[in-house]
Symmetry: C2
């Protein structure tokens, strides 16, 4: 762990204490595929200036720190929330996409992809190497590309967009060691020059323009999109986020499908968001109530039905790998994450390997089974 | 605490330990109105055979133990649940009413009413003295009447039945020291002889008669009633309970009105009940979804509206007392319970005193206020 002390400028003693307290954890599965990485640890829980998910890498050439992606605060009431936070500063409304947060950087000679909690993911890394032009890092060796990864081949979040494979949508370019973000203008210029796919910028305006801001959100909702991140154009203020009714209900549907796996706080938060939106947008409360009730009840009843038919409540993943080697590495990676999936199918198609994984929602399945057998709650 | 050791047949040392651990607590506010009670403690948490809410009373004549009312387990799936629990035993479906659980017994020369957690409630005691014939206790001095107390003048649960004042509905007669219940037949006979109002017995049947059982529940739901307690006629098996959709949604409505005061588990449990009922009753899922969504959203939005208008989220009580003395005693009793109500109105009408109390839901009010001011969640 000497490289951690050196990279973070900590005493050996402090680093050892962090390790003992479980705050420093291993960030990757050692494997030839990660040949540029000698060692890497991640920060499990924010300490000092270092965000959760920060990764310290001993690369084969030099030490690197990839700061964790900062938590974005959420407002529930747009009108006062935006004014209070941004005042009269110019802001951009960027589309918030529903995938998983990835930081992409160069270590040694290759591109690596780090997920939110600070793990170097072999699957995402493989895809990033296919999609992200390496020459960006020649110009910006100290920066990382913060992207939303999504598509039908996402291992972590189901696809809502009908996107084949796995795509990366850029939303921030940050200096990896300081977490300082480039301005939106610089980001746009770079994205265009390197042909990087970017999340949609839906509107540039200011907090006073509440009617247009609400309109953007209504349109997003009509298109079954997740929501918006509000950013000041210079990226000096922390961003804020806000989600559509579609997103709130989608989350609830997922949570109630797997109701024993999901936190009660998760459920309540989404319901309260929906209540505030109903109040602020002043549209038909009956439609919203119906949509909310459906999201909750349909998915819970669906799970009960499945268990009654003798099946289990599951989540399924369909992934494509370039080699058996990366597939096996990814399975080790899931183990490191503490997620228990089982592989239920593997097929060769062209030069790719298609694999189907299944995660059994054990707690929900067992609870439903017990209740259906007539046991009391 | 010597009387506790004596009544429960515990060593002095054991009793002291229970007191230290906070399991033995004071059960009443000392006051001339409770003149038959020299001392009384309640059991805050089940230990050994003694249920939570058990009260040990040093009466002016003798020691008494009033056992806590046993928790009734709930099933979520009727068909298997009833068969598993009752087999082919004959059962009664008693209406479960939505009030508060009261045990009524005689101490010294007078009737006293004990609430679920084991507190002697002055308000309920006053009303029980008006409604319950003392001569029952001449015949059954060792027994207690277990009743649901409800009506417009209920201090603890809003009225759902349009009942004036506070009424007591008998559902069990139990030997106070052993908690042994009389059979349903004996209870019916006694209720008739002493003119005690009883909860409705809706059906006597067995677990196999599932279609009629479901019909009873549907009828209850149509009449906006809470649910059913299933009991074997001899009262040898523990009862089971099951609630209607009306009740589940009513609870949710209340919980989401005061969403920061209410436990997340409380919310989830009611939603899951509704999902199991939707599955078992196979009726229109869309209607149920709408009802569920309305219950949740309407009440949450209502609270947001109130706070936006500068008001607070509150619960209101309208109570009638026979004297200022009992009113003041009841306020001390609420303090003992840890509930902070404020009295907002007091009127004399005929020889009664009408008082209006208001409880401010501080956590929910503050949370909504903060979110409306634009603070992040």
């Amino acid at each position: 762990m000497n490289f951690v002390s050196e990279a973070l400028n900590l005493s050996k003693f402090s680093t050892e204490r962090l390790e003992e307290r479980g705050i420093l954890r291993i960030a990757f599965v050692k494997h030839p595929f990660f040949s540029d990485v000698v060692d890497a640890v991640r920060i499990e829980k924010k300490f000092g200036i270092y965000e959760e998910g920060t990764v310290i890498v001993k690369g084969k050439d030099r030490l690197r720190v990839f700061r964790g992606f900062p938590k974005i605060k959420r407002i529930l009431y747009l009108e006062s929330g935006l004014k209070k936070h941004f005042g009269s500063t110019k802001i951009a409304l960027e589309e918030k996409m529903n995938g998983y947060n990835v930081r992409i950087g160069k270590i040694g000679d290759e591109i690596y992809a780090i997920t939110r909690r600070g793990l170097i993911c072999p699957y995402t890394t493989e895809k990033a190497r296919e999609k992200i032009p390496k020459d960006f890092f020649e110009e910006y060796p100290e920066h990382m590309l913060c992207c939303e990864a999504l598509g039908k081949a996402s291992p972590y979040v189901p696809d809502y967009y009908g996107i084949e494979g796995l795509e990366f949508f850029l939303f921030d370019i940050r200096e990896s060691k300081t977490n300082k973000a480039l301005s939106i203008h610089e980001k746009e210029e770079i994205a265009e020059r390197y042909d990087l796919r970017m999340v949609n910028i839906l509107l540039k305006t200011s907090a006073e323009d509440i009617e247009n801001i609400k309109r953007v959100l209504e349109e997003l909702n009509d298109k079954s999109r997740e929501g918006v991140v509000f950013k000041d154009l210079e990226m000096n203020l922390p961003p804020l986020k806000y989600t559509t009714s579609f997103s709130n209900c989608g989350d609830l549907s997922y949570a109630f499908k797997n109701f024993e796996e999901y936190g009660r706080d998760f459920m309540l938060a989404r319901i309260v968001r929906e209540a505030f939106q109903t109040f602020e947008f002043q549209d038909n409360i009956d439609n919203r109530a119906y949509r909310l009730g459906k999201a909750i009840l349909d998915s819970a009843v669906e799970s009960i039905k499945k268990v009654k038919e003798g099946k289990e409540v599951t989540e399924e993943l369909n992934l494509t790998f370039s080699s058996e080697e990366v597939l096996e590495l990814f399975k080790m990676h899931l183990k490191l994450l503490g997620i228990t999936f089982r592989e239920i199918e593997r097929k060769k198609r062209n030069d790719k390997i298609e694999a189907k994984f299944e995660r059994v929602m054990r707690a929900t399945t067992d609870k439903i089974k017990s209740l259906l057998e007539g046991n009391p709650w």
